[in-house]
């Protein structure tokens, strides 16, 4: 009879298995979107480059710094709680959520700038992908901010681990989306 207690590869995964299923699913969805963006770009490289020049690359770079710093604050919440520092853990999660709100404010300013210049989702295929991908990501940021605040309120080791993992997924998607949409010229 085989030993049923022998750990398998899945047991190596840190945290909740269902959270990893969600992370892989989201990576596949955004990955398909980014690959489609690059494929459609082949039909009009000059038009895509011109449309991309209307984006504010430095602002998006600042948003990257904001998001990875927010991810850091979410990541330290677990060790802080494990060290018996519940209040600091909660403060780290609330600060992470606040930086998530700052990300949305900068993103909102970016969208407002496009609207002022008469740029809409149907102005060029570049903007269709731009609004779809960054908008869908921003929706995840909104959800992540709410999850971080909820986890800060109901702070325990499992909640913090799962809530932070969701936030790191948002971070992970952004570090792939940012260079493709904003930087590749």
């Amino acid at each position: 009879m085989s030993d049923m207690t022998e750990p398998g590869a899945l047991d190596e995964l840190p945290g909740d298995l269902m959270m990893w299923v969600l992370i892989v699913s989201e990576l596949l969805v955004f990955g398909a979107g980014l690959a489609a963006f690059m494929a459609v770009r082949l039909t009009d490289p000059a038009g895509f480059a011109a449309a991309q020049d209307a984006l504010h690359r430095t602002g998006a770079g600042i948003n990257t710094v904001v998001l990875v710093t927010s991810g850091f604050l979410a990541a330290i919440a677990g060790p802080l709680l494990a060290g018996g520092q519940l209040l600091r853990a909660r403060a780290a999660l609330v600060a992470a959520a606040a930086l998530g709100v700052l990300f949305l404010v900068i993103k909102g300013a970016e969208y407002a700038d496009k609207a002022e210049r008469g740029i809409a989702w149907d102005t060029h295929p570049f903007y269709t992908f731009y609004y779809l991908l960054t908008g869908f990501h921003a929706a995840h940021v909104v959800a992540g901010v709410l999850i971080l605040l909820l986890v800060a309120w109901k702070a325990n080791a499992r909640n913090i681990e799962v809530g932070s993992a969701f936030w790191h997924m948002v971070d992970l998607i952004w570090v792939l989306l940012f260079p493709v949409i904003y930087l590749l010229r």
Partner: protein
């Protein structure tokens, strides 16, 4: 905690590096190399987030798997990018 601080500092440095590359006036002949560098930096950032923020540093099998999958994805993006700039 020090691992997390190092990861954060690395992510900031890589993010600033890729933004600096994108806003610099790169000569056309160096554009493919700049594009490749930007994608390599993105792949490196993703690996840091997976290893340190999401804890895969403690699961080498999965860290390697995610690293390879993301690497293949970045190569696909790079090929599409290189085709586009040669059109």
């Amino acid at each position: 905690m020090s691992d997390l601080i190092r990861a954060w500092a690395t992510l900031i440095a890589l993010s600033l590096g890729s933004t600096a590359l994108a806003v610099s006036a790169i000569p056309p002949a160096w554009q493919p190399a700049a594009g490749a560098a930007i994608l390599i930096l993105a792949w490196a950032k993703a690996r840091v987030i997976l290893a340190r923020y999401l804890g895969l540093a403690a699961a080498p099998f999965w860290a390697r798997g995610f690293g390879i999958a993301l690497g293949v994805f970045c190569v696909v993006l790079l090929v599409l990018y290189l085709i586009a700039i040669t059109l």
